[in-house]
């Protein structure tokens, strides 16, 4: 019997299919779904339509060349793509204990990218702070044997720490990491999980 626990915030929904009562070797799935906002698409479409309408007005009433309309159409399309089009709809982590971990990325176009990592290749899963020139966020990564770089579990989404912690715990349990569970207890005490 699958139990679902859900954590959500303004940008992401985290769904965990918790197979608590199934046999111990059952598959454990964690999904991060990117939320669709309601207000933003309306505002952006409205703005784009107004812009094209204004350009059309300039063309028909004031005699501006038709290229103005074409440019505003392109600009509107760029705005729509940038603000509304979700390249990624969902990212999932499917943990198969003693076998491996599968990372899936579901795109808006319907394409699904899958990447399987056998458990023998995973050294450790880590929660890192990722610093960019403008911000700092948490990201979950895997240390893979014989590879110089960390493998990010969520390639594009940056879900908050409270969603990453249960996935990290599950990965640690599946890959058999016994060290540094003090952080987990500390996190439990502070009610982050």
């Amino acid at each position: 019997m699958a139990d679902q626990s859900i954590i959500s915030n303004a940008r992401f929904i985290y769904v965990h299919d918790n197979h608590k009562f199934s046999p111990p070797h059952a598959v454990d799935s964690h999904h991060i779904i990117v939320r669709r906002s309601v207000v933003k698409p309306i505002v952006v479409y409205l703005f784009a339509i107004l812009l094209v309408a204004y350009a059309a007005f300039l063309h028909f009433e004031k005699g501006k060349p038709v290229t103005t309309v074409i440019w505003t159409f392109f600009f509107g399309a760029v705005l729509v793509k940038f603000f509304i089009w979700r390249p990624i709809v969902k990212e999932s982590v499917i943990i198969m204990p003693e076998f491996g971990v599968q990372l899936e990325t579901h795109y808006g176009s319907g394409r699904i990218n899958r990447c399987f990592i056998p458990v023998s290749k995973i050294l450790k899963s880590v929660l890192n702070e990722h610093v960019t020139p403008v911000t700092c966020c948490w990201c979950l990564s895997l240390l893979i044997r014989d590879e110089n770089e960390l493998t990010l579990v969520f390639k594009k989404s940056r879900p908050p720490l409270k969603m990453l912690v249960p996935i990290w715990k599950a990965l640690c349990a599946a890959t058999d990491c016994k060290e540094s569970f003090e952080f987990q207890e500390d996190v439990l005490v502070r009610g982050l999980y």
């Binding site: 303004a10 890192n128 702070e129 990722h130 610093v131 960019t132 020139p133 403008v134 911000t135 700092c136 966020c137 948490w138 908050p160 720490l161 409270k162 003090e182 952080f183 500390d186 996190v187 502070r190 982050l192």
Partner: protein
């Protein structure tokens, strides 16, 4: 770690930090370590070095943010006025900082961080580590920037009284807001050699960057003269820089290869062993706000000969040091006097005196008092703060006001884009005791 009452959460900001070694870098690191021991939380923010970028942890859980803004000139981040606002805001919120402490007037990251922290309502402290001039074009611009930053600072710290005078004159800050907290030395690391060195030959040690400011040109004049007057004197020169070539030439010209050793750049961990191989420490700086090198030498039991510049006379008592004008003949006389009084010096006794006089824990306690004072200052709105900027100058005042108003507007826009509640705070990690297995 449970956060007790009266404990602060401090953000140290500077362009100068590990992996570079220097006065400012060591000051920030050692002060942070002592503050951590007192129970405060300290986070350091600096720019990325080579491939060192992101979050790193140092001893005792000191967290360092190496923000990926590449340095553009002399270790300084590119000054973009508002470019660092988002990352500074993120760090201040996620670490729940209560106080921002900037170091070094020459650091652009420090000035920007202090400006943004003031806009966001945090209390701000500034420490000035060096003396600067007034007349050349670079100094004039930097002093104006300093005036801007210090117009609204809660408290300022200088490392010597000379430095306080210099900072007050450059920035127009009222002297009551500036406090003098001298640097210190880690006396557990700098200890004299257990066996006293024999007096023949007498070894004079020089460890400094071989640049114009540190008086490398004076050394070129002084060393041959001293070698000529005293056949039993040897020199050891540690350090590297553009003036090294001149010293090598001097060695060749006077055939002093067997009497002058050039060690090249000395890693910080090896400084003690180099100092312990000498009797006298020679410092020929042309300008110095404090001079930690002299403290390190005195802690190792060496008699110091130094130029009387800047804050140097305030560092050591008269019986531990011989001072001279930054002039070759005066320095040679000072070395003569030092060689004469050398037999009376006891390195162990000198080390014990230094241990009592200087300690980083004392510096941390005094800095803590300042933090308490700063946090007791009242919170002020933008309109209440703007008149302070107007006093900076006829045109500059209005420009600075405009800069602060734009910063305020950008901050509010950033809050609309990403509200404060959306920035996740970092959990405080418990430091577990090391289990010996």
């Amino acid at each position: 770690m449970e956060f007790k009452e009266g404990r602060h959460r401090i953000l140290m900001v500077s362009d100068f930090f590990y992996p570079n070694f220097g006065g400012v870098e060591n000051h920030i690191y050692l002060l942070s370590q002592c503050l951590l021991k007192l129970g405060h939380k300290v986070v350091v923010m600096t720019h990325a070095y080579a491939n060192r970028s992101g979050v790193r942890y140092m001893t005792n859980g000191l967290k360092v943010y190496y923000v990926p803004w590449k340095p553009f000139l002399m270790q300084n981040t590119l000054p973009t006025s508002y470019g660092t606002l988002p990352i500074i805001r993120t760090i201040l919120i996620r670490e729940k900082i209560s106080l921002v402490h900037g170091h070094q007037a020459f650091s652009t990251l420090c000035h920007e961080a202090l400006m943004h922290a003031r806009t966001m309502g945090y209390k701000v402290i500034f420490t000035d580590h060096s003396l600067y001039g007034f007349s050349d074009i670079g100094s004039i611009h930097m002093n104006k920037v300093l005036q801007f930053t210090l117009a609204d600072v809660s408290q300022a710290i200088c490392v010597s009284h000379t430095s306080k005078e210099n900072t007050v004159l450059r920035s127009g800050l009222p002297p009551e807001k500036v406090f003098v907290i001298p640097n210190a030395v880690d006396t557990t690391m700098f200890k004299p050699a257990p066996e006293r060195l024999s007096m023949d030959p007498i070894v004079i040690v020089v460890i400094s960057r071989l640049v114009y400011r540190k008086g490398a040109d004076l050394l070129v004049e002084v060393i041959p003269e001293v070698c000529h007057l005293y056949p039993n004197v040897r020199f050891i020169i540690g350090g590297d820089g553009p003036k090294r070539v001149r010293l090598e030439e001097m060695r060749e010209k006077h055939s002093l290869q067997d009497r002058v050793d050039m060690l090249g750049a000395v890693p910080h961990a090896k400084v003690r062993s180099v100092l312990n191989s000498g009797h006298i420490f020679l410092n020929s700086s042309l300008t110095e706000a404090f001079c930690i090198a002299i403290l390190e030498a005195a802690s190792c039991g060496l008699l110091t000969v130094s130029t009387r510049v800047g804050g140097v006379p305030e560092v050591l008592p008269d019986d531990m040091t011989v001072l001279a004008k930054p002039d070759p003949s005066d320095m040679v006389d000072a070395i003569k006097k030092a060689i004469r009084i050398l037999p009376r010096i006891d390195p162990q006794e000198m080390h014990l005196r230094m241990k009592e006089m200087y300690s980083w824990h004392d510096v941390a306690k005094r800095t803590e008092i300042l933090y308490d004072r700063a946090l007791r200052c009242s919170n002020q709105t933008l309109l209440e703060r703007l008149p302070r900027y107007l006093t900076c100058g006829a045109w500059a005042g209005k420009l600075f006001c405009l800069v602060m108003i734009i910063d305020f507007i950008l901050w509010r826009l950033l809050q609309l884009w990403q509200p404060d509640s959306e920035v996740e705070t970092v959990p405080d990690f418990k430091r577990t005791e090391l289990k010996r297995g």
